[in-house]
């Protein structure tokens, strides 16, 4: 990928999401330890780190699945520390999961349509009658979902149950469902895990297009370093719950702390070899 496909940070570099000093402990395990991070609107940030570094825990705190033990998370001026996941989603923060969490008996269309649920206003009764508001709403939401289906090139699978789909396609549907929320911030937990090269390239293109076309802020956890370095504007490195580096892909790759976290010190390597 060439230079003209880097993320599109808007001219207005205001802070959209600010995470200050958050910590999360599970018994004696310090999953996340005083991490501070601020994300500007339209940013494309990757969070990397060895296994167990606390990446997913951090994401879970942002999306409300975990309540931080300390620190605060502020999104567009609202303190969302400890807010319930459904409310966080309604505010405009959407996520995908490391292990695919789709409704396997439902079609691609229905799964993505579910993502619109938080945006629907019609009540049970009016939906049952399917007239007036409920109908208008359904049509409007379906139009948006169709836009996403087109965007993700899922037209031919619209009516297929997700259970029969290949892994890479199911990940794509999951992204579709997150996008159906019309999120301001998109949290992606290993969107390319378990994919082959071609699927990874497709997914990278979708992520970049979301970021550039709609200006959606993206926070990405990913293990594939080539992809991370290729598409990210900024990389944050966690190790054992702590932030050890932050900067452009180039800066991070040269950082001695990062190299140590990934490869160990020369001494440790010698020990391991023996």
């Amino acid at each position: 990928m060439s230079d003209n496909v880097k993320g599109a940070r808007g001219a207005a570099s205001e802070t959209q999401l600010s995470i200050s000093d958050v910590s999360k402990h599970f018994g004696g395990v310090r999953a996340v330890e005083s991490v501070t991070l601020s994300v500007t609107r339209g940013d494309l940030v990757s969070i990397i780190g060895p296994n167990g570094a606390g990446k997913t825990s951090l994401l879970n705190m942002i999306s409300g699945f975990y309540r931080p033990d300390a620190g605060s998370i502020v999104f567009e001026g609202n303190d969302i520390t400890g807010t319930r996941p459904s409310q966080v989603a309604a505010l405009g923060i959407a996520r995908t999961f490391q292990n695919i969490a789709l409704f396997s008996g439902m079609t691609v269309l229905d799964n993505i349509m579910l993502g619109r649920h938080v945006r629907m206003k019609a009540g049970v009764l009016s939906s049952f009658v399917y007239w007036g508001l409920a109908q208008r709403e359904e049509v409007a939401h379906r139009a948006r979902v169709e836009e996403l289906i087109e965007f993700l090139e899922l037209e031919d699978l619209r009516k297929q149950p997700t259970s029969g789909l290949a892994y890479g396609l199911r990940k794509r549907v999951e992204l579709g469902r997150a996008l159906a929320l019309d999120p301001k911030v998109l949290l992606l937990d290993e969107p390319m895990g378990g994919m082959n090269q071609e699927e990874k390239e497709d997914m990278a293109r979708f992520i970049l297009d979301v970021n550039r076309q709609w200006g959606t802020t993206v926070i990405l956890i990913e293990h594939d370093m080539a992809v991370v370095m290729d598409i990210s504007e900024r990389v944050v490195v966690l190790d054992r719950g702590r932030k050890i580096a932050e900067g452009s892909p180039d800066e991070v790759q040269r950082d001695p702390d990062v190299i140590r976290a990934y490869l160990g010190t020369a001494e440790e390597r010698r020990e391991a070899a023996e």
Partner: protein
């Protein structure tokens, strides 16, 4: 012929203003454009082209799948006296450079980022190209290039231009003459580089009028446009006949949704090359094999009944009462529902053309009640020379020639045609043009054939392909290959035998059907190459060949065969983009195989070059087994040159 395509559009916009002209499935819904909207879109784009300096005689290429805007772009160029050059959307860069450079194209209208990227990669080699226009802006927002414009931007510029130059476009349309070039169609060519076939408005309209005279075409008809836009068959129906008659052209959502879109739309008329029919038949068989035993038996029973009935009808006999009752029941239980599944329920007629279709496949569809008929033509004949009228459909002939067309058979058996639809020559290739025409102006089709007692043309094969076996038996490879391809397990076949003691065939398996078969037989495999090397698979194909041999004259039965380790691919030059075998190239490329066929060895080492979609090349090394089909091998004693 006194009109042009843009003038027909103007007429339609007046006489059929609010009727539907073209539809496009977008976001799951068929969006309709009326003739007046269609006209406005074309005119805005034409003015936009004019604003960007497009002039009479300039060439505009379109690259992409069938999209309304790509058809509009072609018409817009013609409004200004320009020429449209549709190119194959899956062409690799090398082919594209040749065509765009040879045609000196100045504007390319590309469907999406994929096509734009392809054009940008070769832009430096195209000195005449000064404007690239894209339809779908997805992913292109950050391309900041002065010569790259969106379709919308060009139309906006067009509206401004039109205000400043009122009457300009109208005058340009009036200036257009029927003898002006309208279309430059590069033939995929089974030999050598593609040649640009120059067709005028009069050529195209003559073919379309002859079509409309020979076949019932109504303004209320629906056509699904899903064949490559660079194929003359698509231009003739989706553009010329569409403008002439005013029926609705329908563009599918995406190439992978065609089957579903076909079923949703239920087109009333259509055309498809043999490949599509073969695929439909194969998928139908796979689905039957996967269904319940009762359904499978019902299908088999009624299908055999229908085929017997079809054979009777072809002989001009009337089936007995019992059979008629059975057929009526079959229509209710099987034929109707199957046609519905295939999206052919509303079809009044469907043609097969572009290459011969095997008689078994042809009969199969007819027996299901699909009015499938043969059409025969060539790009050089604006796509049409003969077609079968209703009630005279027959797998062996291609029907009588259409009105205004004269046909003669030369002394060496070649079919020659004279008509107003005969092309204006190959672009910038005088010698090739001279070779294609006789001294008295007839077009040499290169097909050998004869006229039967009813006046129907029978095409045997490409004249240069027809040969003789060692014992003097006539050898028509395509005839044998089509028989082979009737097997659901065989995707492609190439038969050898000219000046050889017996016929041998190279076969590419059908991965879909055979994969399904392997699953049902608990046969594990990893890839195409692996599957085609399995002894079980070789045994199965051997059986299929024996079945096929039973219906071949004893002299031309297949003696030996081999299963290829890859599919034939247009990127490797083995087949054309319309999926015709490039026979001479294949014979050269697989020379060791041919050698091995006739030397009697049972395996051959093969190094195959393959080209990936991005143009990279690789070599596939493997040893492939050659099998004998026993009962045929015996009579052939001592090959003449062994």
């Amino acid at each position: 012929m006194t009109t042009t395509l843009p003038r027909l559009l103007r007429r339609n916009a007046l006489t059929m203003a609010e009727r539907s002209a073209i539809r496009e499935k977008k976001r799951g819904i068929w969006q309709t454009f009326t003739w007046s909207r269609y006209n406005r879109e074309v005119r805005d784009f034409a003015s936009g082209l004019a604003a960007h300096g497009f002039q009479r005689g300039d060439l505009l290429a379109v690259a992409g799948d069938n999209r309304p805007r790509l058809y509009w772009a072609q018409l817009a160029a013609q409004c200004l006296g320009g020429v449209a050059v549709p190119v194959y959307q899956d062409s690799i860069a090398l082919e594209l450079v040749y065509v765009l450079d040879h045609a000196e194209v100045s504007v390319v209208v590309a469907e999406d980022q994929e096509q734009v990227d392809k054009i940008l990669a070769i832009k430096a080699q195209l000195p005449h190209l000064n404007l690239v226009i894209f339809d779908d802006p997805r992913g292109l927002q950050h391309y900041d290039l002065p010569f790259l414009k969106s379709f919308d931007a060009v139309q906006t510029a067009g509206r401004d231009f039109d205000e400043a130059h009122a009457g300009y476009l109208e005058a340009e349309i009036d200036k257009g003459a029927p003898d002006d070039l309208a279309l430059l169609n590069y033939t995929s060519g089974t030999t050598g580089y593609p040649k640009g076939v120059m067709l005028s408005h009069a050529n195209l309209l003559c073919a379309a009028e002859a079509f409309a005279k020979a076949e019932e075409v109504r303004p209320s008809d629906d056509l699904l446009c899903y064949l490559p836009m660079a194929w003359i068959g698509d231009s003739l129906l989706s553009l010329v006949l569409h403008l002439l008659v005013g029926f609705t052209a329908n563009c599918p959502e995406r190439p992978d949704t065609v089957q579903r879109d076909l079923r949703e739309l239920g087109p009333t008329v259509g055309i498809a090359p043999p490949r599509i029919w073969e695929n439909m038949l194969t998928s139908l068989r796979v689905r039957t094999a996967d269904s319940t035993p009762l359904k499978r038996r019902l299908f088999d029973f009624f299908q055999r009944l229908a085929e017997r009935g079809e054979l009777l009808k072809a002989d001009g006999k009337r089936p007995g009462l019992g059979m008629r009752l059975g057929l009526a029941l079959g229509e209710f239980l099987v034929y109707g529902p199957v046609r519905d599944q295939l999206g052919l329920r509303r079809a009044r007629w469907f043609y097969t053309g572009g290459a011969p279709l095997g008689p078994e496949t042809f009969r199969f569809f007819r027996s299901l009640g699909v009015n499938l008929k043969q059409v025969w033509g060539a790009t050089e004949l604006s796509g049409l020379a003969s077609l079968q009228p209703d009630g005279e459909a027959n797998p062996d002939t291609v029907g009588p020639v259409v009105a205004g067309t004269e046909l003669r058979i030369s002394e060496d058996g070649e079919v020659q045609i004279r008509s107003p639809a005969v092309f204006r020559g190959y672009y910038k290739q005088l010698k090739a043009t001279r070779d294609a025409l006789t001294d008295d102006g007839w077009y040499r089709t290169g097909d050998s054939g004869y006229i039967d007692e009813r006046g129907h043309l029978i095409v045997i094969d490409r004249a240069k392909d027809v040969g003789k076996l060692g014992d003097g038996t006539l050898f028509a490879p395509q005839f044998i290959e089509n028989k082979l391809k009737f097997s659901p397990f065989i995707a492609e076949a190439v038969a050898f035998g000219d000046a050889r003691p017996f016929v041998a065939a190279m076969i590419a398996i059908d991965l879909g059907t055979l994969g399904n078969w392997a699953e049902r037989h608990n046969l594990a495999y990893t890839s195409f190459q692996d599957l085609s090397a399995k002894p079980e698979v070789r045994g199965l194909i051997g059986e299929e060949i024996r079945k096929c041999n039973a219906s071949l004259p004893s002299g031309s039965r297949i003696g030996r065969f081999l299963l290829l380790n890859k599919e034939f691919d247009a990127d490797d030059n083995e087949i054309t983009r319309t999926r015709k075998i490039r026979r001479r190239f294949v014979a050269e490329k697989y020379a060791p195989v041919v050698e091995a066929f006739y030397s009697g060895t049972h395996q051959v080492d093969l190094a195959t070059d393959i080209t990936y979609e991005d143009g990279r090349k690789a070599t596939l090394n493997s040893t492939i087994a050659i099998d004998d089909v026993e009962e045929v091998r015996q009579p052939v004693q001592e090959p003449a040159y062994a």
